[in-house]
Every structure is written in structure tokens, then in C-alpha cells.
Symmetry: C2
């Protein structure tokens, strides 16, 4: 389950892969400073030592770029979490722990988190495939924490609700309308759904 599958329409050459990487790096770098607005396409291009037109060939819009940045970061987080899986009695606890751990990771770079999450929720239909990928990774993280291989439809719904809550709570925190304590409480509240939707082993 290395989950590194890329559709890879045309396989990229080495230099192209390097360019792509430079671009994503520049994007994350700039985002880590001023957040969404600081990621200016001209600056990304310059920092990545790439022409503006090339940047747009790799990522057809600023939103695409930031969503791809999020994919990248989430991938990292997923493997990191894999190394130290949450210890806990029940699934709800483990999921809540995992999400709060992710949350603290994002706290370390709040501007980056801001840029990525704002892009994610602002994305329109043209970015659906990429947003879907992010969603799949998030789902995988949560299911991992739950320790489930074959979730029921009910459980999948609960997982989606948890994801919704996570994104939205993140936004309210990032825009200063909710405290970290409140986010924690709400995450724990939504995780109760895991118990509620657990299939009775009858």
C-alpha cells in the first residue's frame, strides 16, 4: 500500500520532475510567509526559476497549485502518522487524537495551512479531480486511525462528516473565529459518531 499511484498522463522527464518540485517548494515557501495572498504566481515562477507560462503549464491556476501543494503536504503527513500510529482504546479516541495531531502540525505553519485550506474550499468544478484526491488521502488517514479495512456505508458517511467538520473547523480557527480549545471539543464531539455508527456485532 505505498499509494504512490500517479495517473501520469505523460511521464515527466527528470528535469520536468525537478521543475515541478521546485514549483511546489516555492509555493509552500511563499505560503508559509503571507498565506494565500502571498502566493503570487509571478513570485512563485521567479522563486522556482521558471517562466510564468511554464508555471501555468504545470498548474493551470493558483488554486490548482495550492491544492497540489496540499496533496503534497498531506502525503507527508500520512506517512509521518503511519510511523507513529495513535495508541488508544476505542476508535473514536484514536481518530480524534490523529486529527488533533494533524491540527498541531498545521499550527506550526498557520499561513501555509491558511493558503491550502482556503484554496481547497474555494476550488470550483475545474479542480474537482485534485480536490477529490485530497479527500481520498484524508479519508485514508481517518480510516487508518479507525483501524478499519471494510467500513460500512454508515461508517463512510460518518467519516465524511468528520472530514467536513475538520475542514470547516480549521477554517473557523484560521480566521480567528474559534479557539483551539473549541476546535478540540468539536473534533471530539464529531468523533462520537464513530461509536454511534459502529456496527453491532450481532
Amino acid at each position: 500500500m505505498t499509494a504512490e499511484a500517479k495517473p501520469a498522463s505523460p511521464p515527466l522527464t527528470e528535469r520536468q520532475e525537478a521543475r515541478r518540485r521546485r514549483i511546489l517548494h516555492a509555493s509552500a515557501q511563499l505560503a508559509s510567509r503571507g498565506g494565500f495572498e502571498a502566493v503570487q504566481m509571478r513570485e512563485v515562477a521567479e522563486a522556482a526559476e521558471v517562466a510564468l507560462g511554464t508555471l501555468y503549464r504545470y498548474f493551470p491556476s493558483k488554486i490548482h497549485l495550492l491544492v497540489a501543494t496540499m496533496q503534497d503536504q498531506l502525503q507527508h503527513m500520512h506517512t509521518t502518522l503511519h510511523k507513529r500510529p495513535p495508541a488508544g482504546d476505542d476508535a473514536a479516541q484514536r481518530v480524534a487524537d490523529t486529527l488533533m495531531r494533524a491540527f498541531r502540525a498545521l499550527q506550526r505553519e498557520p499561513h501555509l495551512a491558511d493558503a491550502m485550506v482556503r484554496a481547497l474550499t474555494f476550488a470550483d468544478r475545474s479542480v474537482s479531480p485534485e480536490v477529490d484526491t485530497v479527500s481520498r488521502i484524508t479519508t485514508a488517514i481517518i480510516l487508518d486511525a479507525m483501524g478499519l479495512e471494510h467500513p460500512t456505508p454508515e461508517q463512510l458517511s460518518a467519516v465524511r462528516v468528520i472530514e467536513h467538520t475538520w475542514h470547516s473547523a480549521l477554517i473557523t480557527w484560521l480566521s480567528g473565529r474559534a479557539s483551539i480549545a473549541q476546535v478540540k471539543i468539536d473534533i471530539e464531539t464529531v468523533c462520537r459518531l464513530i461509536d454511534v455508527t459502529a456496527p453491532r456485532d450481532a
Copy 2:
């Protein structure tokens, strides 16, 4: 409970109130056609017969304008819902019904919904007060449906989670990544938290 309180820093004259109304109307009108991108400030100004600078005096950004538009629409919806409160045995059912009713109302103008919700989640700190107002109205709608006067902190958390889910599910539907059926299921799932967090009358 007419809930018409406006901080109203400087009380607006009649003509100013009329301008404000024309602007909001133009905004909703344009949004109903092409959604977020169709709400172009120059066009709003023209349709509202107001100079561009004036538009910006009333609403300091496109996001402010659209969030204000949402406030306006939500207010309508709240009063409409008041007239025909949901009938149902338990609170969870009533809340789910209410939200799905709101959902169907938004479905009638998907482009408008798109513009408003995208603006809402994209809003940064400078729009926090306005976004908070929207959140308060939404909370009021949900608490009304629950029939609660004095919710416990636990219940308030559940309500926030429901709001998170509502916004986020709306977005996934608007961007074509979830079906209406799925939204319905997820709304019903999250509403289970209402039962779970109901205080035991012991």
C-alpha cells in the same frame, strides 16, 4: 424575537438604505446567473446605479458584499422557516428536515448558493464579524428546529459540528463531488449527534 438588530454605527438615511438595498439586489441577481465569478464589482455598481467607489464604501470587498448577501438571504429563510416549523417527533429529525428544506431552497438557485457559500468559506479575518453574523443566524435556525432555549455546552458543540457539516457538504455538492442523496445521508448522520448529546434528565 424579530432579531432585526443592526449595530448601525451611523444610522443610514432613507436614500442610503435604498442604495444598500439596490446593491444587495443586484448582487443576488448577478449571482443567480453565473455564480461567484459573474458578480463583478463594476457590473454590480452599474446594475445598482451607483458609482464604483460608492459600492466599495458600502461593502469594502467583493467577499464582504457576498457575505452580506448571504446574511440577507438567510434572514429571509429564517423567517420563512418560522412560518412553517418542521413537524417531527425527535429533535434530530426536525433539524435534518429543516436543513434539507433549506438545502432544497438553495437548489433552486444553485449559482447564487455557489457565490454565497464560496465567499463565506473564502472570507479571511477582515470579514470575521460578518461571517460571525451568518453563523449566528444559522445557529438560531438550528436551535429553533431543536426547540431549545438553553442548550448545554455539549449541545452547542453538536450544533457547531452540524453547521460545519452543512457548509462543507454544500460545497462538495456545489462543486459536483457529492450527490444530493449523499448530502442527505450525511446531514442525517450528523444530526444523530443531537440525540447523543441530549442531556439525560436524571
